[in-house]
């Protein structure tokens, strides 16, 4: 077993990991940073984000506006101090990226252009055509090449955290190329491994999004917070789930059911806005949870169409015109052509909701620090408290920049003050892992593919857009059954070099843990809030009296999950009813006065 020593380890080379690496390298040029990724960094799933990154930009916009939209979008489950910090720092981070060369789309005068996005009252989403995540990731990756202290470990797969008495000591990884186990010691470790969308059957996520970091932390007793909140993106391609960005609707795209009717007006998002003249917070620019739920309701009513066996509705962009589409949504045109053989200028695109984002994740404080000393988490794998029960589109790209920087700086500060845990203290744990890895090889009657497929189907059926107790109980039973089958599963390929079967085996173990945490958390929340909607009697509405709280999933010694609750930090915006469309402006709503109160508290643009 190889042994290496670094100061800071970052697990994950996506947007959050790279931003953290650069922040750490800038904050402490004397420290050695190890950036581990199971793929080459530019393959990370940040690459697939399309729409944009939010920050208060226009003169008529205000930090209080972004603050309020995010809290309301979260159905009041966001940590308000975290949201406050976020909205104040998002703009500077997007500018930083601009200074690093990100090709943001521009207005004729050369200033940065912003677009509309769902659940945002004002245009504040920066974008680089419809490949914003791609450009952010490549800009960060290329910028990271400037820093000699960032040591990349491409295609290193972390299988365990090395923890000694609640203090991080390093990580244990498999070098994919050689099959060698490598222990890397460090003073601080940042998990930036992304989400877990792949535990569901229909998702917009890449094959690598398997919840690794969440499970790594969870197995060492760190709580996973708000795991029941899983975002369905309303517009994925049928079958593959390939993402069709919300920016299509921001640009003026409309959603139609099989009769060509704009069904969103029936779900408190109206009145209808004219096609091609989108209005913030109305109709197609409602938040993602509401839109995905409306699809489910339409399907129940038999108003969805069929596309090769999949229930679909239509995203109509025809009225935007070919020229506008090729300029603002070139990637969408390319995807529609390649995967459903449609030119969006001539035909509506068949779409359906698909799992897109895990709002929950590893519990951290506002400094991205977890309950293990020296262990940080950031990005989709973490729950710093920004998204609550529903994330607003374009907040997560900004999040990984704002909190990636925080995590990098915090990890660097901590690494400068601490020393390495002696290697003797971690040897036993590493040896134990080495033994369990080598005991995996052999032949068994269990099939990895079967277990994985059954898991994703169980999650889709039990923990989908709408949930009920019986469905979730069935899902939980299946997961337990799958876990015991997984315990008997072996890896038939015993080769060392690029052993995909071994990696997938370990990933599946991670996914099963995360799936159970999601299902358990969802069962425990007997109300409906944001992306968690229950059909059970008495649970179909929000219940602030009992559930204005975060769920915490904690792994027990016997491997089961226990749920406990944590209060939500509310600083200036007490809960009110969450409304979109014209309803948001009805006198019954007190949001406006709350917003005014928040503005008076000085949440102004710096």
């Amino acid at each position: 077993m190889q042994l290496l020593q670094k100061d800071i380890i970052i697990v994950g080379g996506g947007g959050a990991g790279l931003r953290a690496a650069i922040a750490a390298a800038e904050a402490a040029p004397g420290l050695q940073v190890a950036l581990l990724s199971k793929v080459y960094p530019m393959r990370s799933h940040t690459v697939a984000a399309e729409g944009g990154a939010a920050a208060v930009t226009l003169a008529e916009d205000s930090l209080a506006g972004h603050f309020q939209d995010t809290i309301s979008g979260s159905d009041w489950l966001a940590e308000q101090n975290v949201v406050d910090y976020f909205v104040q720092h998002a703009y500077q981070e997007l500018v930083q990226l601009e200074r690093w060369g990100c090709p943001w789309s521009r207005k004729a005068d050369g200033t940065v252009q912003v677009r509309r996005f769902g659940g945002m009252k004002t245009e504040r989403t920066w974008f680089a055509a419809d490949k914003t995540g791609f450009h952010i990731l490549h800009t960060l990756f290329q910028t990271s090449l400037r820093y000699p202290t960032i040591n990349r470990f491409d295609e290193y797969f972390v299988i365990d955290l090395l923890v000694v008495e609640q203090q991080i000591a390093g990580v244990l990884a498999i070098h994919f190329k050689t099959g060698q186990l490598v222990q890397i010691q460090a003073k601080s470790v940042i998990l930036a491994t992304g989400g877990a969308g792949r535990v569901f059957h229909y998702n917009t996520n890449g094959g690598i999004v398997t919840g690794d970091g969440m499970a790594l932390a969870y197995r060492h007793g760190v709580a996973l917070r708000d795991m029941e909140f899983v975002q369905y993106h309303p517009t994925g391609l049928p079958g593959s789930g390939i993402l069709i960005t919300e920016a299509c609707r921001g640009e003026g795209g409309i959603l139609l059911n099989k009769d060509g009717y704009r069904y969103l007006q029936d779900y408190d998002l109206g009145p209808v806005t004219p096609a091609g003249q989108p209005k913030n917070n109305y109709m197609e620019l409602g938040p993602r949870d509401k839109l995905s739920q409306a699809f489910w309701q339409q399907q129940k009513l038999g108003l969805t169409a069929d596309y090769q066996g999949h229930a679909v509705v239509y995203l109509d962009l025809r009225h935007l015109g070919s020229q506008h589409l090729t300029q603002r949504l070139p990637f969408i045109c390319e995807l529609a052509k390649a995967y459903v053989n449609i030119d969006p200028a001539n035909s509506p695109i068949p779409i359906r909701p698909a799992v897109h984002y895990t709002m929950g994740g590893i519990l951290t404080d506002i400094n991205c620090h977890t309950s293990i000393a020296g262990l940080f988490a950031v990005g989709e794998c973490a729950s710093v408290g920004l998204h609550g029960a529903n994330r607003l589109g374009s907040n997560s790209l900004s999040e990984l920049l704002v909190f990636g920087k925080v995590a990098g700086e915090q990890a660097a500060a901590l690494a400068q003050q601490t020393s390495l845990v002696p290697v003797s203290a971690i040897m036993a744990q590493s040896k134990h892992q080495q033994t369990s890895i080598s005991s995996l090889f052999g032949n068994s009657s269990e099939s990895m593919v079967a277990i994985r497929t059954e898991m994703t189907q169980a999650m889709e059926q039990g923990c989908g857009i709408y949930r009920d107790n019986n469905g979730m109980q069935r899902c939980l039973t299946s997961l337990h059954n799958l876990k015991s089958r997984y315990a008997r599963l072996t890896v038939s390929d015993s080769s060392k070099v690029y052993n995909s079967a071994l990696l997938q085996h370990v990933e599946l173990g991670f996914s099963l843990d995360v799936a159970e945490a999601i299902c358990r958390s969802a069962l425990a929340r007997t109300e409906s809030r944001g992306a968690h909607q229950r059909l059970d009697e008495g649970m179909t509405t929000r219940n602030d009296r009992d559930f204005l709280q975060h769920s915490l999933a904690l792994r027990q010694a016997d491997g089961s999950t226990a749920i406990s609750w944590q209060a939500v930090t509310i600083t200036s915006l007490p809960p009110t009813e969450r409304r979109y469309g014209a309803a948001a402006h009805s006198p019954a709503n007190s949001n406006i006065s709350q917003l005014k109160a928040a503005q008076e508290k000085g949440l102004q643009h710096e």
Partner: protein, 129 residues
């Protein structure tokens, strides 16, 4: 990026000498490169012609006779089509390297310019001879 002496022994493919026969794109590329051969012949002819001109009437007549031999005509026709082909590939590349106007427009403009210059030269030389 430590690369421990790995157990891996990667297979290093060797390019065969016939790589360019593998598909049409490479064949066309080799054809473009090969256009230099007939063009070389044409240039030698041209230089020989200039030399003959300086040697007086008899030599000049013999060069004209030589140029009219069927195989020389054939080779020069080949050189002509080769230069057209080379020009085509060049004209298509040019708008990509210097994107001054829409590519299609630039390609047409280049051909037009070529024909105008060529016609002008022919008229000029025809008049002089």
């Amino acid at each position: 990026m430590p690369d421990p002496k790995s157990a891996s022994t990667a297979y290093k493919p060797v390019m065969s000498r016939h790589w360019w026969l593998q598909h049409r794109y490479f064949q066309l590329y080799m054809l473009r490169e090969a256009t230099v051969l007939p063009l070389l012949f044409f240039i030698i002819c041209l230089l020989y012609g200039l030399f003959s001109l300086s040697q007086g009437e008899v030599q000049w007549q013999s060069w004209l006779t030589f140029m009219a031999t069927p195989w020389v005509v054939l080779l020069n026709l080949l050189a002509f089509s080769a230069s057209l082909y080379h020009a085509k590939t060049f004209f298509e590349l040019f708008p990509r390297v210097m994107p001054l106007a829409p590519a299609a427009l630039m390609i047409v403009a280049q051909w037009l310019a070529t024909f105008i210059v060529a016609a002008g030269l022919i008229l000029l030389l025809g008049g002089w001879l």
